[in-house]
Symmetry: C5
Subunit: 357 residues, 5 copies
């Protein structure tokens, strides 16, 4: 999961900008959305193309797919006067969610999460926003569904008034938070499937699924936990900037996060509880297996011993010549076998074996 | 348990109203209770019928069974000026409990819990309230006993003065909280039954019951935990609106919640403790079983080996021709067997087997 | 343990007074102690007898054994102007400890705990106090040693000045808290006994004792935990009313509670730790048992196989006719057996078996 | 560990002074150190001898070894005007650490801990201080090394100015805290020894050592945890009285306590982790043992069965008379045995057995 | 890990300076860096050489490798007026991280951590800073890579303005924090390797690796946890002194620490989870092994018993003489064996064995 190197960072000055993470796109793509007037989009090939847009003073949203091109980040940093430490955070794609209020700018970094159906694992991707007076910059590691749907909605919906940069952040944030629900639902389904199988017939395949679910929940938690504090600070310090009519929208987001955190914790408890059930039922089955073995051994070992006695070849074994020896020995062994069975039944072993089967 | 789809929500604008949950009723039913004057009830077929009631300015309580009809919710929202985010919360029946103070309105959402006797599982249902100046709106997923008994009490009790909308909320809240006690009592009985069986004779059926109890407690906790904060806020910000003579009623509710939370936690500890006992006793029984097997094997394997030696068909085995060989071998084997038993008894294995049985 | 029904409560109006709990006395007994002048006691048959005492305005203490008579509670409530919710709390004997400051009255509810020597379980009993201007009401579920000894002390001790109602509460509270120490000491002794046995020779009986100790500690904690907050509030809001010369007495009580809570937590850790030791030693013993079985099987199975080969009845088995076959086979088997033993000893299995015994 | 009786305390008035604990000294010894003028010591036989010293108004330190003589405590209490509750705390040697600011007096109670090399267990002893205007009283359960070395230092060191009572408390407190380090170091060594043995060859003796270490850490924690709060209060409320030039000394003490608490917690985590390793390795070894048994049984049971078939004495068994039967059966059995081995090797069982040995 | 003695410290006066730790260097080395003017370095042989540098009043940085020479520390203490308690902290190399604001001086102590590739264990080293008006003192236990690279950067980079002492501390602190990432990455790789192996084929070697990883994480946590509070205090009280243009740098450091703490916690959860998987899979494998043994025993024990019956040598066993006895017995045994197999297959044992293999 972490194949990139933070080694490079160590030893460098603190504000050196180094890309950290998996390079998911060859070349970053930039799209400029002009917000002042409708919702016009324009592909940006080089940072220099942006200069004139900024000079117009129009409200715009610059969206970048891919953050591995450090030079481009530096150019953007010069253009928009972004602090080098912020650029370093954007380039470090393994950063935890954070928010920073920097005079004229708000810097926001969260993680979008997606569920990989094949491996049942979750991938996470860093999403960074810089909100200035009349511009919004957004950075993705690679293309993302949440963004696509929001952009489509705005593009197609000409009738509505153009959204402000603050409201775009809010919408994207809300959309990413909504996507967490989907993943929790997937994980919830996984948990229920595992639960059903484990109570019926536990196999080690289930064990591996439990392992993956637990790991997913650990990563979910790491991504979501800091959002509570971020949204609280947004509410206190940045509600105006997000341009939501009232605090209700932010509080709604806050509640969703709380609810997601609750669900993650509940799922963690459930899966831990299911593992307990798994272990208990494996323990119980071991007892059942050993009971079968012990019953069989306890019955047949003494019997085999008796018959082996009369298989000895001593010349002087008077019983061998008696007429009734054979039936007597057979009956003795039969009674002995039945007696053992009776003892085990009295001990309750047999009963349990029967109801279990 | 969660078969509905939050997928629909993701991608939609944040304040779009989408029903989330199990559709428990085909068509919502609305009943209007006129509070100004006695306690008259009237079935409402369509939202438009309410218009004139509102215009009269009389105090009334509108109760809806079923929230799956999103259009109806929107109409009500227009009529009572309810914020779309609040309507979205009402329609999302898997929302955690919350309270929201919205200028003229208080929005309260809690969960009613019922115990399914057949499956021993608990079901939960969302209950939403909107309290305005002279109206109370309440929304249920489906019909509910707590509501029925409260309504019956008010309907039959003409002598008493008509309750205020605030007091109705308080009464319903109190009644729902009282119903939690019943469920905790049921779970408490389950725990005691499981405890008794597990100390006597643990079976895997007990394991499944423990699993269900633990899951129920996890869900209980999720529903109840947020109530503490909600009631605290009600006490601080909304006591007047609930129209209770003094803060004593709210504090009483608060204490009940604290007590319920304590009981849930105690029951969680108890059931965890019982699972520990189960596992320990299964471990112990395994040792006991293996001791039986080992005693039997250790006694009969060497004996069978000895008798198999004299079952060999070599021509030149002088012992076979001796007169006393047979009795000597028999006595040797007898002494060997007794010696083994003595060793095991000295090791304490036998003693434990005896007292255990 | 909980055989009474909170069902009755659900559905009733919040301030209906319903007895909840085990009925420990048929008929409540009331005793009036006149505090203004010596320490005179008087048995009270009916609430009406109290009327004239109240009218005199003398300071008095009314003590009730038994709270199952709801009518009597209501009469007392009318006489002393007690809020119905408080009466409901008194009648609900499964309430958690609480304190309530109600203008002229302080309502205090704690739990007295006693240790049942036969079952090694702990019983708890609710103790309620209402302290008014010149009266003290106390309610017990049934007679209690702490109360007896306090009353005896006051009765016999004429020389000392009569105690104030506040100081009586303090003395009773202190006496109940002191009784917690006794129970912790009992539990501490139980833990030490279990600890000694478990390190020597673990049996399932110990497991049941551990179970009972853990359950007792869970119940202790539930009864004691809320006292910390109650005493803190007493110190802040009610120190004057308790009529203790300085805050030192209350702080002393507070420290005792802290110390008791610490001891309960320490005992919980100890007993959890002892269960770990039990499980580990059961695991170890299983290994030891299986080693015995495996050593025996590994030595005798191959030997028995060899001897069974020469027990076959084929006509053409040249070895059977050789003179030296028998001694060669015997020596081979002897060497094989010794070789096995040597291998196990080298593996360290034997050594451990020896030192263990 | 707790053989004394708190029963006596229950029932007594709250401020009755009762000795609780193990009586470690027959008769308390008192030594008076005059601080005003050098560091002169004087043995005190009876409390009355102190009267004239107090009347002189000179600064002095009275040190008592042994607190079991309640009458002496009461006399001291009268002489120095000590509150009965404080005397009760001094006589109760199982009290948790505490600090009390009482107008003119500071009362401080901590626990000195020593390590018993024979039993590897820790003993703890109560140390109480009362600091008044010009006097310091200290109480030990029995003689203690920390005190001895401090007294020797002051006695021998005439050149230095005489220490103030406050600085003596600080020095003794610091010396006791330093002694905690020694014990943690001992426990740390125990942990490392256990760790080394457990990874090599776990035996139940290790299990008992782990048990003792865990119990020691539980007791350490109970003694040390409250010191954090005590020192914090000393810094805030009592720094002047301790007569340390700056707050640096108190903060140094505070940091040491924090570091000791950290180390205790780290050691608890380490020892819990080591127990996990123990259990896992015991589990693994069980698997290994069972594999040996299963391989042996699976190979020899079918072979023995085959040979037992040809050991049957039926008259009409044509194979018995064939010339090649014997070699064919032998080769068949040999091939079967090899086949089994091959299967187990393919399953990986053999490989693991080999590398393990 | 802790072979040095804190015994020496106990009994000494609190501010006595005693070296505690492993002596990693024979003789401390001191280097003086003159910051006023370029970045000139000078080796310092004795403390007296520093006197004239201080008298010049120039800004300088004195760096010491090695703190075992207590006399040198005392001389430095006299020269720079360092409090004896601070010198004691510097000499005690097992001190937890701390920060102290002392009028003119800031004292900062953190731990540098390095990863030992051979043993997979982590070593930690104490780093102390004293920042005065125009000087910076730094103390290392032995040479350290973080320091080397920072010094090289400043030495080679003449163009840039000379760094202030405060900025040097910040750079070194930042560099040490960056090095934590590297170690976490190493541990993360270890965890992934262990995870992969454990799901495929668990061996006890993995168990030991898990043990080392867990211990490393425990030590990491102990070193890193206090940094959060230290940096928070630096931000509040010492931001100016560190001479960073804005609070952004300190906040960046703070966030890195938070992220490192998060990662440590996540890794602790992951490794605990992996151990659970290990134990569960060992449990499962035991069941599988025991199933093989039980199937084999249950099939062959009864069969061997039957054949042993007809190996008895009784004279009067009519079956022995019948023509069809042998084929009948053989067929019976064959059918019995198949029946057993069928039963086990019905029980599901066989199926699991097959898919597992």
């Amino acid at each position: 999961m972490k194949k990139t190197s933070k080694y490079i960072s160590a030893g460098h000055p603190p504000d050196s900008i180094v890309f950290i993470g998996d390079k998911k796109m060859d070349k970053p793509e930039m799209v400029l959305y002009k917000l002042g007037n409708g919702f016009q989009s324009e592909n940006i090939e080089s940072v220099s193309m942006l200069k004139k847009e900024i000079d117009t003073g129009n409200i715009h949203w610059l969206h970048c797919n891919g953050v591995s091109d450090v030079d481009m980040l530096k150019e953007l940093g010069n253009l928009y006067k972004i602090h080098p430490l912020i650029l370093a955070d954007i380039a470090n794609t393994e950063h935890s969610p954070k928010i920073e209020f920097l005079g004229e700018q708000i810097f926001l970094e969260i993680r979008a999460i997606s569920y990989n159906e094949q491996s049942s694992e979750i991938d996470s991707e860093q999403v960074s926003f810089i909100l200035g007076g009349n511009y919004l910059l957004s950075f993705l590691e690679k293309d993302n569904n949440c963004f696509k749907s929001i952009i489509e909605r705005y593009s197609s919906n000409v009738s509505k008034s153009t959204p402000s940069p603050g409201f775009i952040i809010y919408s994207l944030f809300d959309s990413i938070v909504d996507s967490y629900y989907q993943i929790l639902e997937k994980i919830g389904e996984d948990i229920e499937e595992v639960e059903d199988v484990i109570l019926a017939k536990p196999t080690p395949a289930e064990l591996e699924r439990i392992h993956i679910i637990k790991r997913n929940l650990i990563f979910m938690r790491k991504a979501i936990w800091p959002l509570r504090e971020i949204i609280r600070r947004l509410e206190v310090e940045g509600a105006d900037l997000l341009d939501t009519a009232s605090g209700l929208y932010i509080r709604d987001l806050y509640e969703h996060i709380i609810q997601i955190i609750d669900t993650v914790e509940t799922q963690r408890e459930l899966i831990a509880e299911i593992l307990d059930v798994y272990l208990s039922s494996v323990s119980y089955k071991l007892n059942e297996i050993m009971r079968v073995l012990t019953v069989i051994s306890t019955i047949f070992m003494p019997l085999t011993f008796i018959s082996s006695i009369y298989g000895m070849n001593f010349k002087f074994m008077p019983e061998l010549d008696w007429r009734l020896s054979y039936p007597i020995v057979m009956i003795t062994m039969f009674v002995l076998g039945l007696g053992m069975l009776y003892l085990f039944r009295k001990k309750g072993w047999f009963y349990e074996l029967r109801i279990k089967n």
